[in-house]
Homo-oligomer: 337 residues x 4
């Protein structure tokens, strides 16, 4: 007898949910798409109709009907929505960033741990095979980590003038974009960021649009992180992390979903992108979230590194504001499931 | 009637001088290689014999016989040797870094200006055609500069355990290696660095081996600079500067001597390396120095940006030591010839 | 009132159909997946169950119920199946190669033309935006075409020992693999191949596994085509066409779905792959086939170039067998819809 | 006591000799540049003055005064000049191609063998370290060779309208340019070409400007060779050989002087270009020729593969003319020193 499908609700019916999470859930044989809720009831109704599910008027009502929730709401609402889900013992997949502050993020991680449920963060890149290759190589094949170079340029600045990604909802380049790379860095290394110093530049958007930061990792390595949301059309973005170790190095091209391991003996190992998958598989988190609840696989995007990334972003923004070195907050690791 | 050859003396007969400057001068029809001096008389004699010139026992005596001097001595001696040359009204080509401190470097720039002589700094990359392409593009073709990403990894750490590049002579990654990229950055942009914050890591060598810094440029752009001297054998080094502007971007690969301009209209312009020249033409500074004195061309490596690079390195090292943001010293630009 | 959905039948329920065509049709709102037929009734039944459609015992019965047919059967059956479909006035999407012989392929093209229906060939690469960019550039932006370099290596040799891609069903590297590149070449240039000479090597498989050919195009350009099915695991395949013109050149990387136009003025235009699509979108032909029947868009893979590719492959195999130059057959172009 | 310098004469004082061979010989401590001869006495006198040597009025007189000769005359004179040198027992470095016909080339190889002297062919690429890496890898690390893809595009067509590289002196793309790649192919594999078929296109120059050929190697591998002399300015040339073996592959970029070995286990070994050498070191053949005579090293460009390359070019041109497969002539290998 096949197991009962996982009953999943979706909170937030914006373009990301309708483009990626809802189709992925609708197409997953192990999931039943129970319903969708949005603060805009018309938008919820439209999404429900498109994906053959029910539009719920109220979050609490939806939560009563499901086993698991996908949260794709503005950044500043993640904490309250996710805490409501966890309070009911529901599994949660929440978009990145986990939260705007370390305090909120850590509370979410602890609540998930206490509830004994899965909390998965929507860091899509971590669901790629190449990410596991990079993680293994950084931990086991390049010797002690010496230095990391992070670049994450994008064209997101156009989103920051207001609305979901504007200042009022916790937008900006660090929280929206650089978080991808910092989340990957913390997940790959298993380390946290102990000190940062940063410059940011907002170009009048009310949020950071360009970020330049130095980071000290808990294992001692130094790092730089450079990120701009103003890459002009026509100029390729660069979303890349280089890990330099005492016995080798890894180049991880997040944008292309590819990596190369360089070993001290002069040999290299490349992971190239498949012809049959998009480099960025935005439906994968929802699919794997359902599988995880069904007992298959491990959590590719657990809360621990996501909390560390939130702490790093918080420290970067504070450092830039104050013109001083800042030590990100750290949580006890045994609380991160 | 052809002009009298420029009489050139060489101070320092180490491997760099004997590998590059002395052969270049010996082979230049417009130069007369008058003599060589070194604190080790045997080494001076050997070099003099190899290149058909005279070994001088004493710097002052050599200076009396020449029009121009190439200084290739340890970093910590640049200031005193160059000041002695300038005091006699001699033209000077001095290896990078110009000096260990801003105060020394600025004094040298001013002294050259006052003496009305050429002071050329041995930033070999600035003598490449591709550098002029990058400079023109950054200033005129990519719009306002937003962000710069500097990477300069090398294998120089093995030199830092003592001797010429050890702590006692002002060695270390920032002064020896990162200076290449910072000199290029200041020369290309025509800007100075107004604030820095940095981490350095010495791994017990007594000097910095890994550097991670953020920089604010005088025009407002943010930058990161990442540099390690511990790139393992078998791992390719990366010596690269990316300039991101509002209307385009440039990737400058210093190691390969190549660049690509990306324009907002989607077109690109590449400068690829010639088959007939080495990417790093270490004899070029001495050759062009002689030409410059003979009235040909402009100074491809003038003291202004070199002073700014010294100031930036000084600030990086101080920032890392103190764990605080530091504002590099700045000289009045009208003093830099 | 929205138009009635296109009733589509699928002939052949092998892995390609079940992996790509059937999911694409099942997910297309404008298509009704009427049924599937296969010479193996169990396989047909299984596929029908998986995609919520009907398994037909007999091709003729299925054809009576549909408007359009997707043919994904072994190469040697394309001609008879497609002719049966066209005889009933049905639109057809057939896998590449269109047929094993020029005579068969030309007959199919003429029959489609006479029936006034769409005949689409499953050259997936032609459905990519980058292909249209390459076609436009080759025809309008690089001047008269001088020379073309085709490489198409793969790992398909393991399929040739028997079964669908073995000698008995018209397998081999030229018909199975090189056809991708030759189809693209004919479609991009709008030209045919007027003369070929070739070597093939079968390594005992009974079909060609390695092909090396020279081609003369109808416009006068010379070309080489190199293709091996024995690329070892661990070695990246290369699937690439370079078009050299008098005023520019194009590099088309079929495997990555990318292209670069090099212009004589030194500027370049690159088409890079999107993060959100797989480089090889194998479901696209079926989707676009349905759209085409519904009146949307043009046929991205019309029979004319596909017939020319079949003729070229036929000539390559004959040339290699005879050790002589061979002129491929050519059909009157006005018969190719 | 150091050995007496090798007395070297140079035949031909055109731009190649004055740019590369004469400076290399003048700067080699083990060589004495005895004299230069040219059919244009003024040009010989000018070159002699520039390099501090003697202009000889007559070839025979020069040959009487030397141990070794560098021959840099038009292609069609190589045979007679070199045979005159060998008849006097002199060592010879001759520019590529060795000769215009197999008969001439084979006679030269046999004469050198009979005289017991060194005959070195000016295939500059074979003097690079990367070439030895490629040769070793092709012979020992990629398993049985399956297929080779040769591309050699350049901008040489402008030379073919007359003069040294025009039809009257044996110019054209195959003899002047493609010979570089064919010489490398024969040298790397140690094989000969057993059958060819080709197209050439002269665009009215009276010589071949574009070549497209298939080659069968003596070991059984198939190959294509594509070469055009009409690469527009602004379009990068591609000078590249890919060797595909049963257990790996090599990409050899002749233009950049780089190579990558791909192994079936997924690892790679790259040979990247040094910063301190030009990719094309045109002075190296003359320097190494002198060293070879002095007993140092082996002949990096022996006559055997050069004869095979001449035979292949001859067959390519004949095949294109006749529209038929042609078997290149082959010499007994034991005659090639």
């Amino acid at each position: 007898m096949s197991p009962a499908p996982v009953r999943v609700g979706v909170v937030g019916a914006g373009w990301w949910a309708t483009s990626h999470h809802l189709p992925a859930l609708a197409g997953h044989p192990g999931a039943r798409l129970t319903g969708v809720v949005d603060r805009d009831p018309d938008r919820a109704a439209e999404a429900a109709a498109a994906f053959g599910t029910t539009s719920y008027p109220d979050l609490a009502v939806l939560l009563a009907d499901v086993d698991a929730v996908v949260v794709a709401t503005p950044h500043d609402t993640h904490h309250s929505v996710v805490m409501a889900c966890l309070a009911r013992g529901l599994h949660v997949l929440v978009e990145k960033p986990l939260a705007l502050s370390f305090a909120d993020a850590a509370a979410m991680a602890r609540a998930a741990d206490d509830a004994g449920v899965h909390l998965v963060v929507g860091y899509t890149h971590q669901f790629e095979d190449v990410a596991a290759f990079v993680r293994d190589a950084v931990r086991h094949r390049i010797g002690p980590l010496l230095q990391v170079t992070v670049e994450y340029s994008s064209r997101a600045a156009r989103l920051y003038s207001g609305g979901t990604y504007g200042a009022e909802h916790g937008g900006g380049q660090a929280r929206t974009q650089l978080t991808h790379a910092l989340g990957m860095l913390c997940w790959v290394t298993g380390e946290e960021i102990t000190t940062v110093a940063a410059f940011t530049e907002g170009h009048g958007h009310g949020v950071d649009v360009d970020d330049a930061a130095i980071l000290r990792l808990s294992g001692g390595a130094t790092a730089t992180a450079c990120s701009s949301g103003r890459t002009p059309d026509g100029v390729p973005v660069r979303q890349h992390i280089r890990y330099l170790g005492a016995d080798g190095a890894i180049d991880h091209d997040l944008f292309r979903g590819e990596a190369v391991l360089f070993r001290a003996d002069g040999t290299r190992v490349a992971r190239e992108h498949s012809q049959h998958e998009p480099p960025y598989r935005a439906g994968e988190p929802a699919r794997r979230f359902v599988d995880l609840i069904a007992g298959q696989g491990e959590n590719p995007a657990p809360p621990g590194p996501a909390v560390a990334a939130v702490a790093a972003v918080e420290a970067i923004l504070e450092s830039a504001r104050r013109g001083a070195y800042v030590r990100p907050s750290q949580m006890r690791c045994d609380h991160t499931r």
